[in-house]
């Protein structure tokens, strides 16, 4: 029997770039195929060809052994191909039901049949085992639930037999990931073939059958996932071995280093309750916890981005009042937000603009006139120091890769010479090679005496980076672990600690 989906020798060029060169991919019924590669390896381009957004230059695509032409997104849908994109395409003000059947609502003449729509949606959700109310407004749902809506939408097309998921877990918590994986398992039983794009190795091991690796737009290999080690996969992706693990697990930091930032009893009206911790000079302090545990909220409260209802902040022992981010920056506290594009960068501006954003005081002359040459010099010194890959300091930031964009945000705070750096998910959406480099950078920063706070949802990352780990759950600190006593189980136990139950007992 022929494969469900067979892509052979597909190439695609853009002006100046050969994005794909003779790429193969074979997907069977009921199979989960992991598609991996660094950013820029061609995964998204390949998926866009599959979904009819791009037309391929050469090569063939067959479904159930028959060659097909995918003329556009609609044609892809009719051929049974559904794609769940990294960035979701839901309408936040509409309900779950309205989103799933948008453009296909049951109707009588011009009148919409809301009740029939709800029934139909309920039936669909029951069938695939998603527990959501059809009348829930999508904007009120968690990211994971929205992901579920996307999946339900993809499956609401009767014909769907090929499902592509582009980093579906990048924004959801561990428990939600489990729900997603159960759903994937049931889809696979129904014979749906799934192409699963992700950077997380453990995840791929858990659900994928085989793994296809792309590198620089070329097909590298396809292997049974049980047959290869993580190191082999990474080596295939980057084309060489990574010398990553020699600095695994940092030394435990001596407790005698100066306390740079001290937080006591921090509370906000919405979530945080009595959050206290100390951050030492030269230390990387990890913040672990589930999605919504209050880690980002803690960071935002410290820098004055959100109002606090109680609590005191001390910088080098001195009590400070911070009610706006500019006040935090004046105290030497820089925040690198979770969502770089929305909160960290001016994508349409150039590298120098972004790097010097927080330190214009250094490059301004009388009357606030900016010294362009000096600004560029400052920017390019950080471009060199952080090895930011950019054609020049005049390149627009949106044209750089995720890893380089993150480095630009780091450069912005280094240019300002902040003593306290708060990293919120520093490696989200960044590929393996660049991740290593960010890790090394964080170590360097701590080594140079900066106090570094790292919020991360990836436990291995926290365990690897942090000297100490603060674990949060439901807006409170549930524990603090030194690196040498921490492991995944202990952190998870603290992260899932239910405060209310504890109070009752």
């Amino acid at each position: 029997m022929s494969a469900l989906l067979e892509i052979r020798d597909v190439s695609k060029g853009f002006p100046g770039v050969q994005a794909l060169q003779d790429v193969d991919l074979v997907l069977d019924r009921g199979e989960v195929l992991a598609l991996v590669g660094e950013n820029g390896a061609g995964k998204s381009t390949l998926m866009k060809i599959l979904s009819g957004i791009y037309a391929r230059d050469t090569g063939t695509i067959s479904i159930d052994g028959e060659q097909v032409e995918i003329a556009g997104p609609r044609a892809a849908q009719e051929l049974g191909i559904s794609i769940i994109h990294q960035e979701m395409n839901l309408l936040p003000h509409l309900t779950v039901a309205q989103n799933i059947y948008i453009g296909r609502e049951p109707r009588v003449g011009p009148m919409l049949q809301e009740r029939a729509l709800r029934r139909q949606t309920q039936a669909l959700l029951d069938e695939i085992g998603i527990r959501l109310r059809p009348t829930a407004v999508v904007g009120d749902l968690t990211v994971a639930q929205q992901q579920m809506v996307e999946i339900a939408k993809a499956l609401s097309f009767e014909s769907t037999k090929i499902l592509v998921m582009d980093e579906p877990t990048s924004a959801i918590s561990i428990s939600e990931t489990e729900v997603l994986f159960r759903l994937i398992a049931s889809l696979r039983e129904r014979g749906v073939g799934i192409v699963y794009i992700s950077h997380r190795m453990e995840e791929l091991r858990e659900i994928a059958d085989r793994v296809t690796v792309l590198r620089d737009g070329r097909y590298v290999d396809t292997r049974d996932i049980g047959e290869v080690t993580d190191e082999e996969i990474i080596a295939m992706m980057v084309g060489r071995e990574l010398s990553a693990h020699h600095e695994d697990r940092p030394e435990r930091q001596g407790g005698d280093a100066e306390v740079v930032l001290s937080v006591r009893g921090l509370s906000t009206r919405g979530l945080l309750s009595d959050v206290s911790f100390d951050l030492h000079r030269g230390e990387i302090l990890g913040f672990a916890g589930l999605m919504g545990a209050g880690r980002t909220e803690t960071a935002r409260a410290i820098i004055g981005a959100d109002p606090i209802s109680a609590g005191t902040i001390y910088v080098r022992g001195e009590e400070v009042r911070i009610s706006r981010p500019d006040q935090a920056v004046r105290r030497g506290i820089g925040y690198l937000p979770e969502d770089r594009k929305r909160h960290g960068l001016m994508l349409e501006q150039d590298v120098a603009f972004n790097v010097t954003m927080s330190s214009l005081a250094q490059v301004r002359g009388p009357l606030g006139v900016l010294r362009g040459g000096k600004a560029r010099q400052l920017a390019s010194s950080f471009v060199d120091a952080l090895r930011i890959k950019t054609p020049s300091t005049r390149a627009m930031v949106k044209n750089l890769s995720g890893g380089n964009q993150q480095k630009i945000v780091i450069a912005k705070w280094l240019a300002r010479d902040c003593d306290v750096l708060i990293f919120d998910e520093p490696t989200r959406g960044i590929d393996v090679g660049a991740k290593e480099e960010i890790y090394r950078l964080l170590h360097d920063l701590a080594g140079r005496g900066k106090a570094v706070m790292v919020i991360s949802s990836e436990l291995p990352e926290v365990l690897r980076l942090a000297h100490r780990i603060v674990v949060m759950s439901e807006g409170r600190v549930t524990g603090e672990l030194a690196n040498d006593e921490a492991d995944q189980e202990k952190v998870m136990a603290l992260a899932t600690k239910n405060i209310d139950e504890g109070d009752v007992a």
Partner: protein, 349 residues
Amino acid sequence: MTESQAPAKERQTSDEGAEAPPEQSTGGWRGRLGQGLQQLLAFGTLMALMLFFAVASPNFFTVSNLTSILLATAVIGILAVGTTFVIITGGIDLSIGTGMTLCSVVTGLLLTDMGLPLIVGVLGGIAFGALVGFINGFNVAVLGLPPFIATLAMMMVAQGLALVLSGVRPIYLSGVPGFQQIALGQLVPRIPNAVLILFALALVLGVVLTKTVLGRMTYAIGSNEEATRLSGINTRRWLLGIYALAGACTGLAGVVLASRLSSAQPQLGMGYELQAIAAVIIGGTSLLGGRGSILGTLIGALIMSVLINGLRIMAVQSEWQTVVVGIVVLVAVFADNLRKRRAEGGGRA
């Protein structure tokens, strides 16, 4: 970052040397070229229009007609140059038309009823404009009102106040010695001072926008206000300053208009804001914020004046002139979109 935004095969592994692959650079210079291209396009349009009218009518390309075009551009141009700042922050200011009227009334009262010296009347009008702008900025940046609503309200308030303060009658200023010279005097032979004021203002504000911290903040807030705030910038303070600056330009426009008409006309002004905004847009400034230039605005304002003047000389009815200007705005925005899509298409698709 998704690959869709960077199909260029970047390798971010550290051991590969700092040299970037050449294809990566396309986005950079293409974006830069795009900005220049838009201005070039606007400039080309202006030249083409002038050529067309010069050929179509012998009365167009005369010194006196060109002077009158420039004079007609002055007031709208001054408004447009100021409001370019607001639009680059991603905001909009609908109050500049009636705000201008209010300022000219204030100047008129200072000079006639109160009999204050010329310089006080002029500076008073400009300062009053800055105050109006500051209040707009306060409503937007501190109270968090949407710029459209805040300035729509201010548009009405200013119109009402102009009528109340003037007693719904024009304030005649021909008796104020030297006042007319502000707009109509000729420091440079054949060129009315109003035109010099416009060009001087454009030059100064062009430098402010591109070379100073204030200009940098204008672009930054328009590119991404939240990122700017989280970068440790007091965005409220800068927005207040930017709106006040635009307001000061409104005041200056009010003084120039009153000088040109030798009177403050309380009924005038409504609709000027839309013409100024149209000039800004024709000049390639994005209503979404983060992108735009003073030079573009200047060219945009000239395009509108040339069009209206040329059509008038060709004896096109004034009703139809308005229709044509409307179509030009559509075409300009469409061309800009097309250019943007192509520029991004080159990098992406």
